[in-house]
Amino acid sequence: MNPGLRFLLKTRLPGGFRRARRKYAGRDGRILILGVSLLVAGIAVLQATSSSFVPESRIPSIRPTAAGIRAYAPFVLLLVAMVGIRPGAFYFKAAEVQFLFPAPIPRRQLLAYNILSRLQIVFLSTLWVGLFTVRYAATWYGGILAIFGLLSFNQLTAQLGGVWLAGFDPSPAARRRRWTGIALAGAALVAGFLATSSRTPTGIVDAATMLVAHPFAWALTAVTRPFVELFLAAGPADLLLHGGVAAAILGLEVLALIRVDQSHLERLAGAGGARGRSRKLRLARHRDPGDSVRNGSGLRIPGRLFPHWAGAGPLAWRQAQELARHPATLLRGGLGLFAVLPVLLFRLSSAGQDAAGLAAGSLTTALLMIPMMFDGADFRRDLDRMSVLRSLPLSAPALVMGQLIPTSIVIAGWMWIGSLMILAIIDLWSTPILYLVAMTIPPFALMTTAIDNWLFLLMPYRIRSQDPGETTFVGRLTVVMSIKALVIVAAFGVSVAATFAFFTWVVPSTVLAGVVACAMLSVCCIPMIWGVTRTFQRFDVARHAAE
């Protein structure tokens, strides 16, 4: 390999740590690092000792068993790997394109560097994910190996799938044909499953249980199964066998990747017409290509729908336009739900008696995840426009509200859909609950959007993959989710206590209790909005935003 590529690989992790150390050298940075360190230490202690908090008799019902992991994990992992795929050729950072493409380096070496540099990050992600999961493995080293293998599998599968999909005709007609084919194949699969099943499932949970036991399902998940077996391998022979198969799968993926490689700028440029081409090339040069190649729909939202509202209206209109023109951003919320659903089904089928607790946990996870999927129409998309935003003659609170409201509305919509789905699955469908959900979700959506933006302005780094299958954001995502969970639990605690007190001592009315819950959550939004406003005012454009 070219010595320059080796140098880049060698310096990547130490250089990244050095950069973080310098960036957080100030007082605020030290406080942040201390907070995150305490959080990680707390998670580690909780993970190491969690069984002691739970009565022994209940452990089997709430801890995943080897049989449960063996049955469901291959599905969940396959689904996660598939969700990571989106069309796009090999992704190289702008600096890599600038320095490496004109340099005398063979293309294969570039690909090898690309894969190796991402596997370095996978190693870090492994340590982080292992913190939460390795206690379920038969041995810690088997667990770490399996997690590393799985994350690598996700990375390589997403790259392979992305490169493969990028080779398809991007015209709308071809896309329609492709989706029709996928829908027909899905229908054929379901029909085949029902036709070959010994009995009719009694419900969605029963259907999930039957599905994982079906021989076809075993064939479908053959690629993820060796990693799960490695995770559960207790003896050296099993470790060697499953580790060897897992390594062979990864090796085959690398070989396939090198074979189907295509020039990423060529694909980028070829994905649209003349007008789109010039825009995409310009964006590809100036911004992260992974984020810049989305096709806009050209939809126009009438500006009159957004009155001035002290300046918040035009900003909200701009963000709404951004959302409307990129329907993929709108649909991304659904991914959060689909990511939670298999986990929920898995847990329900193995521990049906804990339905209420599981519902609460899953609901919270879904509600926490959904806002994470949207970073397309608020401060998180406007990092390179911060100078412009700061120069607008608007009050900071109005500007912040204009930035947050459209995303909050979309998130509220997805949260309603997600809540209804989960309530239906766990059979908690009743008018008072539906009413409470309807009342509390709008302020809750605004609160979560505000927290996400607040944390982003404090630490302006992305928490979503920019490269298919890339996992560098996982650590930051978990930290952000943990902080968010703490804040939400506090806000909910205040809201529930006030609602309960009102219901018990003032008026025992569900309608009014809903109003009180909504009002309390709205009050809790105020410090969040204040926090975003203050952080926006103090945001150091010179340090964090590109000119």
Binding site: N2, G4, T11, G15, K93, V97, F99, P104, I105, R277
Partner: protein
Amino acid sequence: MIRVQQFAKEFGGQPAVDDLSFEVAPGSILGLVGPNGAGKTTTLRALAGILPPTRGTLEVAGHDVVAEPLEAKRKLAFVPDVPHLFEHLTVWEHLEFSARIYGVARWEAAAADLVREFELDGREETLADELSLGMSQKVVMCCALLHDPEVLLLDEPLTGLDPRGIRTLYRALGRRAQAGASAVLSTHLLAQIGDLCDRFLILKEGRRLVYGSRVDLRASLPTLEADASLEEIFFEATEGERGLGGERPR
């Protein structure tokens, strides 16, 4: 030496550059000018081996960029319009990285000279994301010049540079040209390249409009005065009478 013959580049069936031919002799600096979307960056990127041509041949220092990409790339340096650096590397590490990429032995002395020349001394241990745009552009220039390339391709390299930085860049380019290097400089700052470049190529919508020395350009546009400036030549070539008559495109 740069030789481009009947070069064409299409994106999704749409031509970005069409039937373009020109040469840059050793010691010569070509000013590549044209309105936005004329195909300047595409031409430079194709010459640098970043984009493959749809048709035609591109030669750098006697090597075909498509047939012998590694040989051609060893001889060239490419400076883009917006500098993108590796955020985890310092200024000095960027130079070390470039030296390793191109196999430059005993690079430290040359790197120190470049750092001094581009007024980056004292910034050697600064991380890339702590640099201003102009400083970043200077780092890219230093990296590009470190392996003493025979061919320099500069795509609007003046972005963010202060007047002294621009002067330093011009002097460095002039010295390289005197030493026998060929250079292509794409820019919109016509007034500033008149004295630096000895030949000019004006593109519009991917096609060559005029090409040659300033005298050649004036001769090819008979409506121009004998002392017409490069800016007047540009407007006459790209917009005809509209450009010279004071009526500017909307």
